[in-house]
Subunit: 459 residues, 2 copies
């Protein structure tokens, strides 16, 4: 299954490396990495190949490398030792895999030693393989975030390619989105009888697993949505709670989806929850409607901030004009993160490269409260896949911070805010493909409206 090929895959991989050859005139060697051990060597975490390797090699081969040069693909990997067949079954041999991926040549891993000259690379996450990369290429590859020389040139070329998705990738991304949509629907339906966050998580990840996919990141399924990356699942579900679920699937070839929905445990939003949900949804819809080639992603972020500020003024939580409030970062009291990020083989696509992929060359992260967590700052292009994920949170660490209390003393109606105590965190997130015409919401089959969500939870 991991090793099923197709003419489209072989052709796609060829096109990717030919395009790479137009961008760089030196060889690139990409390593897949190794499995990480959990508590003893044989008890490993499920292997995840480096995304850069996957992009050009297609298959998640363990401890392999590929060399790309002038449109050619050479595979370096060792055949499994004979003993392996008892424990792992018969696995495809190097030459078979080379054929499945359309490689021009295939060698044992030790042969790589003879093909290193003038080659650039990107450092992988696995520390042992990263160390091998450094030793073999005999240069101080600090991290994938700070490449130098030809490694930087290679990184920029790979970013250029991976920023927009080809048809094969889009097919995979659609599949990941479809299964993730299904997982969220089942999660909503499972809430009625669930007593713990963990039970809803299990129902959702069960859908992903039953389609033989994995999660593209550690799921967030929590009644404490105000903890942005909450990865605890032990809280009981109470009737007045909102449940925030940020769960996405990854196809066997590594392509990711990323969806968030927030629903009422009881099946019915309270009036205050409805009010806030509506404003987050308005921000979500406004942003998606604005997506088109050429628009700056930071302008979409500002749009979300403005819609949220405007809504909070209408609800009497903030005081002032939306534009002024956004200028003061007052929206960030409740919407501290960015409006989204790139999505592809990584859920934060190419975040291993720091901001090299997310930020247009010459731009750097803002230090400002409302902008410092913006992960993407580029004009959009057809073929880019981005998330749109506005939210509203009451984060104690932000709202109880004495500096914020002082700075935003007159801007926030703290008394009024208290009436919204049953809204700890709401986020609505979809995956949106930029096209020449209308944006395509890959996750559109999952409803966002209050009526439809309540109906699913009440089933």
């Amino acid at each position: 299954m991991l090793f099923s090929s197709s003419p489209l895959l072989i052709d796609t991989l060829r096109q990717r490396r030919v395009k790479l050859s137009y961008l760089i005139d030196f060889p690139a060697i990409l390593w897949s990495g190794r499995a990480n051990s959990r508590n003893f060597p044989a008890n490993i975490y499920p292997f995840r190949a480096s995304s850069h390797f996957l992009y050009f090699a297609g298959f998640p081969l363990e401890n392999a490398a590929i060399r790309l040069y002038e449109g050619r693909l050479e595979l370096f990997m060792d055949n499994a030792p004979k003993d392996n067949a008892l424990w792992q079954g018969e696995t495809p041999q190097r030459d078979q895999i080379a054929e499945l991926m359309g490689a021009d040549a295939a060698y044992p891993l030790t042969e790589l030693f003879n093909y290193l000259e003038d080659a650039a690379t990107i450092v992988v996450q696995n520390p042992i393989t990263a160390n091998e990369q450094r030793q073999l290429l005999n240069c101080p590859l600090v991290s994938a975030k700070e490449p130098q020389g030809i490694d930087l040139e290679l990184t920029q070329a790979v970013i250029h390619l991976r920023l927009t998705h080809d048809q094969f990738a889009i097919n995979e991304l659609r599949q990941a989105a479809e299964i993730s949509v299904e997982a969220h629907k089942i999660g909503m339906k499972a809430t009625k009888t669930a007593q713990l966050e963990a039970q809803v998580r299990a129902a959702m990840e069960g859908v992903i697993m039953s389609h033989n996919m994995t999660c593209s990141y550690n799921s967030i399924v929590t009644v404490h949505g105000e903890v942005l990356h909450n990865q605890q699942y032990h809280h009981p579900l109470q009737p007045g709670d909102l449940l925030l679920a940020d769960v996405g699937a990854e196809t066997p070839m590594g392509w990711a989806a990323d969806i968030t929905r927030t629903w009422p445990v009881s099946g019915t939003f309270s009036p205050t929850q409805r009010d806030i949900y509506h404003l987050v949804l308005k921000a979500h819809d406004t942003c998606i409607d604005s997506i088109k080639p050429g628009i700056e992603y930071q302008d979409i972020h500002r749009m979300a901030a403005t819609v949220i500020a405007e809504g909070l003024v209408e609800l009497g939580i903030l005081k002032g004009t939306p534009e002024d409030l956004v200028e003061q970062d007052a929206h960030a009291l409740f919407f501290p993160h960015g409006i989204g990020h790139l999505l592809g083989l990584d859920v934060h696509d190419m975040e291993d490269l720091g901001d090299l992929a997310g930020y247009e060359p010459g731009r750097v992260r803002s230090q400002r409260f409302g902008w410092c967590f913006l992960r993407l700052n580029r004009p959009l292009k057809p073929g880019m896949l981005v998330t749109i994920e506005p939210g509203f949170y009451q984060v104690p660490a932000i709202l109880n911070n004495p500096k914020n209390r002082k700075k935003y003393k007159t801007v926030v109606n703290w008394k009024r805010l208290e009436q919204f105590a049953d809204v700890r965190g709401i986020r609505i997130e979809d995956d949106v493909l930029v096209t020449e015409i209308e944006p395509e919401i890959l996750t559109k089959n999952l409803p966002t409206s209050i009526a439809e969500i309540e109906a699913l939870v009440q089933n």
Copy 2:
């Protein structure tokens, strides 16, 4: 939840380190390790602390160390940075955690530098932390399998303690067993409507996840039970197939269960499947009945081999006397692995130490075909938890091996064997606690009989 304590836990941790202080007269420093990154730094695999750390610290703290000396416990860890509260929520501070674990003192991690003198350690799995251990202690800690000097003394002391389980550990192990039993029952029930292995796996892991536990190892759920560590889940379920499921839970504090059952996809074993199942079950029951203090685990392995050989003679698959066949390793054609292993914080408990824990000092692994995969070779003692997991497999790599075909030409009735083609792999595995009296099967609530298993699958 991860940080809920109890007087029993605090007292247990104290008893463990006091016992350690009777065995070594130098300080021990144990590191917990770090989370491993998947495809970019923030996308981590769920953190699993080193089991040696967990045994004495109780809680799975990330990037922490403890120093144990003369019955004292000192905790070294840094408080989470302030920014962390936005993403991870408010996490307990070092001093709170120290109190929960009954530590005598707590310091920032950098302070560890002043407490290194004469200290021994055990190398963790995470390569970055392992490197830090080497640098800080300024010695060539190769791997946990080959400790030297005081590291070896510490390792032997820890093995002595961890070989038998205290009441707190047994409570945890019972919980892991109970949830794993439930997972298997649900797996059997889910088979009726499942079309893929992945769907049964999802149902089983869903039970574990819904109880906020994790899997203690990568599940095996396959119609190709002859691949011993099969971790692919894409095969369709066919009516005549047997499904082999080797799935176990791990409690939040890290204690493991390990269960295997094999059931017919259709709900009814075929006559040949019944025959083989019966002989594996007979081996299973005979071994468990023989468990008592003082018995050699290798003798239990030999017992399983003999029962299997005897049964295969009765079925006309092997020819000769059972004892002769075992002497020739003929049983290993169909039962190539060992009868089981230690179970505790690791599913193969302390396998990070190679065979130092599994093998009585002075004993080494046999090279023989029927014995080389035996993971435990010690006399049993009350408080030890072991698995008993006999099996029958038709592994092509073994049965089609020309050497084996030649060596066992007259011993195997190859023609007769062909009639058992619908039995690719059967394993029955339970977790058994050695006590002064009857062995306690922690997993006894999961049936082993054909009638009960068929009833569960047919539900």
